[in-house]
Amino acid sequence: MNAEISYLDNVDGSCLYNTPHTRVVASATGPVEPKARQELPTQLALELSVRPAAGVATTREVRIQDSVRAVITSILAAYKYPRQLCQLTLQVLQAGESEELFHCLELAACVNSAVFALVDAGVALTALALATTVALAHDGTATAEPSRQQLMDARSVHTVVFRIVDGKPEDILSMDSHGDFSEADILKVLDVAETSAKQLNAQFRETVLARVNIV
């Protein structure tokens, strides 16, 4: 994973998020004045849109959008900004997976890039959320951050989002699984995902530290 923070000039926060397979540009603007219909009397409203790498957004993108929204809403310090709006736009540049079959790599990249962009924008977050994808092959081996081929050959694929508190994965914010799996498989997947999330968190810290040091 590598992320280029403050990638765009005209938004409050942005990031270009790269994994070996997937690329996403995220932009965050906020807190700004909402339209009357978006306004919430006591908290920050979130406007989120996910745009696919090719073509127009379909129900598939709306599904990713809803999952990302659920995660982001739970880490925002929303009551700090009553009657304000935060806009998040996530543009997928490269899906890295067969779009008609999977959405797990994009979902993970969207969550991570959105968190980077929000941190860059200075929107208050009570914790971080980091997502990883794990593929479980037919022989039972679990691979974190799978490639396109590993996804195709997998028995099941899982995207797990952890809430990171004090530098450690504390609890699970979302888990999105497809395919055939048992309870034992899930536990194995969570184990692998947690290790991967710890690595991600270390890289995240490094990237943010580099940004703070520039100032």
């Binding site: 603007t29 807190p31 700090k80 009570t126 940004r211």
Partner: protein
């Protein structure tokens, strides 16, 4: 004590004594936990009344806080106040007609839409519209606030603007002063108004400030020299 924090990190404060939270810190209304909500440098200091905790972080979007000196644009005029924009697309703030020196019911200020003002934030509640004033409300004097005529506005990041305004050792203004005469008003909302005698100097100052934002201090001298050289060598046609 200073260290880097990112949102969600645990910080160590003495729970027995009162804690004052500054920018970048948040007290969760349900759990009463104190957490940093922005990524930046954590400052914990001891004051007479207890501990003060804040996070120094850089961002681009300004949220009003009491006592801040800001540069705003008049965007509307009502029966008893102006509407002022401190950052594009943010909720506007209000500037009462009575918040000017020597103001009275008869004596109205003469600002029009599009004018720039230098002002101080006097109330900033997150649930309410923030208010700014163009005078020192303790003495009632002008103290440098009010209309900013001519000149131009440079938009920079909030951290850079704070350095420029509060850090006396920051070299940028001294270096600019070696090249030209100028008047400057720095708002912590990231807007810097600058006025010089000649257009070419204004252009050079504008480009210099924009370029120095986000660069190390050692690079400032070369950047500024380069921009002034470019404008002096350009002949008007």
């Amino acid at each position: 004590m200073t260290s880097l924090v990112i949102p969600g990190d645990r910080i160590s404060v003495d729970p027995e004594r009162p804690v004052q939270l500054g920018p970048g810190m948040y007290c969760d209304p349900r759990t009463q936990d104190i957490v940093p909500v922005n990524a930046g440098v954590l400052h914990i200091s001891e004051s007479k009344r207890g501990q003060t905790v804040y996070v120094d972080y850089d961002s681009k979007r300004y949220t009003p806080a009491v006592g801040d000196l800001v540069v705003g644009v008049i965007t509307g005029a009502f029966a008893d106040s102006y509407r002022v924009s401190l950052a594009s697309f943010s909720t506007p703030v209000s500037l009462s007609y009575m918040a000017f020196p020597n103001a009275s019911k008869k004596n109205r200020p003469t600002l029009v839409i599009g004018d720039l003002v230098y002002a101080r934030v006097c109330t900033a509640e997150k649930e309410l519209e923030a208010e700014i004033e163009c005078m020192d409300s303790t003495t009632g004097s002008e103290s440098g606030f009010g209309l900013l005529e001519n000149g131009t506005v440079v938009e920079v990041t909030l951290g850079f603007a704070r350095h420029l305004l509060f850090d006396d050792a920051f070299p940028l203004l001294r270096l600019l002063a070696q090249h030209c005469k100028f008047e400057i008003a720095i708002g912590v909302n990231g807007k810097i108004w600058i006025k010089t005698e000649e257009v070419k100097d204004t252009i050079a100052c504008y480009r210099s400030i924009k370029d120095c934002c986000g660069k190390p201090q050692e690079a400032f001298e070369e950047i500024i020299k380069q921009h002034f050289k470019t404008v002096t060598n350009t002949v008007e046609e």
